[in-house]
């Protein structure tokens, strides 16, 4: 009836939880559950992506192990959630990539770095690659012309974006199996607010669970650093692109100009945030976590960290002889990050956002 063991277990748990409902004040998962009497795979994948893994329901539940009902919603939904990325991915041939994500990301990153390195080596002599360029010489554009760089990354982004859009469409359709809704613009606005504040990481107000008696909010803090760091870096690139094509202002920019300021602040967030998230993961109770997709989780966090690290290093050392190597590293890592986005942990943000949109619509129409 259910396609995986985790989905069958999630179905069992939702039957338990729907008979109890003590947790309905904690987050969005339980009110969404209450709108249903039976749970198809699409429903369970949707509920799993609504779950922010705060762990609140696990410490509040009277039926967790050693109780014979053995209820563990956060862990089960974590497995279902990870599996849901594979289940809805476009193209389906890529579904196996999620389980071997760490390996795939590592290999691809090595390949892309090598490609940039070899590419630049072929165009320039090794002397050109290992010497310093002043900003006045155009810095990294001396090694790789702007249009080439923009062209490569536009192509990479377009491929990634297409895969992400089609994956989300699969997820959205499957989530509607048993409760039809019509989405309204207000739902998107509501989801933006819920996602921007990570409202449902609160566990009903006490913060995400790290120690049985003490709720802390550190994961949310580090996630905010990571997410907003990423967005600032994205903004930095967008502004720089506008400068280039609209205003004809070419990089590099002085330290006080918008692209550099945004990129630096974002980059610092993207250094501290991922480290904090990795440490928080180690500190959390293993009972509420799932280990089977660790490669995917760690892989994504490490890629974000490396993107920022190499980016900041490139900015600081762009007039030294190390620039050529750093440029190949940075571009290789960014290219690998973008290429693996539809096939890794990055999708959690999009699926969760989609689930939040759906939840807003369900509340509006069915509660």
């Amino acid at each position: 009836m259910h396609t995986t063991k985790a989905l069958a277990e999630a179905n069992r748990l939702m039957t338990v939880c729907n008979s109890c409902r003590y947790c309905e004040g904690l987050c969005a998962v339980f009110p969404a559950m209450e709108m249903r009497r039976s749970f198809a795979d699409g429903d369970l994948n949707y509920l799993a992506n609504l779950c922010h893994s705060c762990g609140g329901c696990y410490i509040d539940c009277q039926f967790t192990a050693p109780h014979e009902f053995d209820v563990n919603v956060p862990r089960t939904l974590a497995i279902v959630r990870s599996e849901s990325y594979a289940a809805h991915v476009w193209p389906q041939a890529m579904s196996g990539v999620f389980r071997r994500n760490g390996l795939v990301i590592s290999l691809l990153t090595a390949a892309t770095i090598s490609a940039f390195f070899i590419g630049m080596m072929l165009v320039h002599s090794s002397g050109g690659m290992f010497r310093a360029y002043a900003d006045a010489d155009g810095s990294f554009y001396a090694l790789m012309p702007h249009n080439v760089m923009a062209g490569v990354f536009t192509a990479v982004s377009a491929v990634a974006a297409l895969a992400m859009v089609l994956s989300i469409r699969n997820f959205w359709r499957a989530a509607g199996t048993s409760l039809p809704i019509a989405m309204a613009p207000a739902d998107i606005w509501q989801a933006i607010r819920d996602a921007a504040t990570m409202r449902y990481l609160e566990g009903g107000g006490q913060g995400c669970y790290e120690d049985e008696a003490v709720g802390t909010d550190n994961r949310r803090f580090y996630h905010h650093l990571t997410f907003y760091g990423f967005m600032l870096c994205f903004a930095s690139t967008s502004v720089a692109t506008s400068y280039h094509y609209l205003l004809g202002m070419e990089a590099p920019y002085p330290w006080y100009d918008l692209p550099v300021v945004l990129g630096t602040i974002g980059g610092i967030g993207l250094l501290i945030g991922p480290v904090g998230l990795l440490l928080a993961k180690k500190k959390r109770d293993p009972m509420v976590q799932d280990d089977s997709f660790r490669g995917m989780e760690v892989g994504f966090i490490v890629m974000l960290f490396l993107t920022s690290l190499t980016g900041l290093a490139l900015m600081l050392m762009r007039e030294t002889a190390a620039m050529g190597v750093l440029l190949a590293l940075h571009l290789g890592i960014v290219a690998a990050l973008f290429l693996t986005m539809p096939y890794g942990k990055f999708m959690h943000g999009l699926y969760r956002f989609t689930a939040l949109v759906r939840y807003s619509a369900e509340r509006r129409l069915h509660m």
């Binding site: 039957t15 338990v16 729907n18 008979s19 109890c20 409902r21 003590y22 947790c23 309905e24 004040g25 904690l26 009110p31 209450e34 009497r37 609140g56 329901c57 410490i59 509040d60 539940c61 009277q62 039926f63 967790t64 050693p66 109780h67 014979e68 009902f69 009903g204 107000g205 006490q206 049985e212 008696a213 003490v214």
Partner: protein, 465 residues
């Protein structure tokens, strides 16, 4: 070998809501406090783990309560559900104190939410714990720990040294050792005896073997028995207990809320002989659900079956186990181990007696039977639409009423009528003082919190004198 003994101002036996309120109140009043909880850390808190709300009087609506609930209205409700089997003085005192309890318990870290889905009728009177009873316990334990209350788990009290109504010390087992601890005052908050099947048999006979216990397996009444044996006055009688009909497939202990069934009013209930035995539509379900445990206990083998058909499947809150399903009544009987012809006859007779009416499960509607014994007075609809469903049910014991007598200070009263010198009681172990029979949602927690706080304060004051 007995370990070196450390004495406390206040010893609290038990680890649920009442015990923790007592411990927090006593510690806040400056007393040193030890809590001895027989259960493991996971199972700490006894039946509080399975609770979800508390009934407190309040004069106006709050963020989580939809309207006022006056002391007078609370008293009327208590009088009605107990049929007068309550101590008015004590009950009114508790109700008055309950008003301040909402604020006090929130100050201890307990968080509230609006009433849960499926419990709309309680939205005005009852305050629901965010995350349920275990969440409430987690908050109380955290607060108690922060205040410096000592808590020992897996520490079952096996002996009380009491001299003429004066508590001296308690002996408990911990890590396989016998240990002794002295205290200036005792708060007994160790629950009832519903998990002690042998004790239940004293009142019920052998049929108690077929009872399921909805809550903790730790409520064996050992502390209650020791107190009664030491001359504390008894209140209530051993056959009284809160019993509802729960899914017969539930575990022997600790099935909690999710094994309850709210579908009696939508069908018929038959015993193992396929005979109906009580009016399923006598009154609205919240007023009748607590009689069905006793009714099923009186049937052969203490088992019964709720039979209904497909239009009713979604009219009640879902429960843990799926209903047993069949496409004919005979097939259903076969799956239940009943005589197919007998069940078909009972359903047929019932269907033939159903009068036309307008079904409405929100009121006492006009759908009833004519010429049937026993009748079904409301919500009687023919059982005729496939698939047919059944739930097997057994008596599920929620709690017991027999306990120790106390006064308004939660001080135990000895059999000769004198107040005990330094012994207090709170929670289920003394609930019978205000709740001689019957029940209304959330009152158990009110008894626990209010008398817990009173007893803790009293015990601390006692220790200082």
């Amino acid at each position: 070998m007995e370990e070196q003994r450390q004495d406390y101002d206040v010893l609290v036996i038990g680890g649920g809501n009442a015990a923790l309120c007592a411990a927090i109140a006593a510690r806040s009043a400056g007393a040193s406090v030890l809590v001895l909880e027989a259960a493991t850390k996971f199972y700490r808190g006894g039946n509080t783990r399975h609770t979800r709300n508390m009934r407190c009087a309040h004069d106006r609506a709050t963020e989580t309560l939809s309207g006022p609930y006056t002391e007078e209205e609370f008293w009327d409700d208590l009088l009605r559900v107990t049929g007068g089997e309550t101590n008015e003085d004590l009950a009114r005192h508790m109700i008055h104190q309950s008003k301040a309890m909402l604020g006090w318990i929130a100050k201890q870290g307990v968080r509230f939410q609006p009433s849960l889905g499926g419990t709309l009728s309680l939205g005005r009177t009852n305050s629901f714990f965010l995350g349920g009873g275990r969440s409430m316990l987690n908050a109380l334990y955290k607060t108690a720990g922060g205040l410096g209350v000592d808590v020992l788990y897996e520490a079952e009290v096996v002996e009380l040294e009491i001299e003429d109504g004066f508590f001296c010390s308690a002996t408990y087992m911990h890590n396989g050792e016998r240990r002794n601890v002295g205290a200036r005052s005792l708060v007994a908050a160790a629950g009832g005896f519903e998990s002690n099947i042998e004790w239940l048999k004293e009142g019920w006979g052998e049929i108690a073997d077929n009872f399921l216990i909805r809550g903790t397996s730790n409520n064996r009444g050992t502390v209650l028995r020791m107190l009664l044996d030491n001359g504390v006055d008894r209140i209530g009688d051993p056959t009284q207990c809160h019993a509802v009909a729960i899914d017969a497939r539930a575990p022997k202990f600790d099935g909690g809320i999710i094994t309850r069934l709210d579908c009696v009013v939508f069908g018929i209930v038959v015993n193992k002989l396929s005979q109906r035995f009580y009016d399923e539509g006598e009154d609205i379900w919240p007023k009748r659900y607590a009689i069905w445990g006793r009714l099923v206990a009186a049937q052969p083998d203490q088992i019964a079956y709720i039979i209904f058909d497909s239009p009713s499947l979604r009219r009640f809150m879902p429960s843990l186990y799926p209903p047993i399903e069949a496409s004919t009544i005979e097939e259903l009987a076969g799956k239940l181990g009943l005589d197919p012809a007998a069940l078909a006859r009972t359903v047929g007779d019932f269907n033939a007696a159903v009068q036309p009416g307008t079904f409405n499960d929100a009121i006492l509607d006009d759908c009833r039977t004519e010429g049937l014994t026993p009748p079904k007075s409301h919500w009687a609809q023919k059982i005729e639409t496939v698939p047919f469903y059944a739930y097997p049910v057994r008596p599920g014991i929620t709690f017991t009423y027999m306990g120790v007598r106390v006064n308004k200070q939660a001080r135990m009263i000895m059999a000769d009528g004198r107040p005990a010198a330094n012994m207090f009681a709170a929670g289920e172990i003394m609930a019978g003082n205000v709740l001689g029979r019957g029940y209304a949602a959330g009152i158990g927690m009110t008894v626990g919190s209010v008398f817990g706080k009173i007893s803790g304060e009293g015990a601390a004051g006692n220790a200082h004198n």
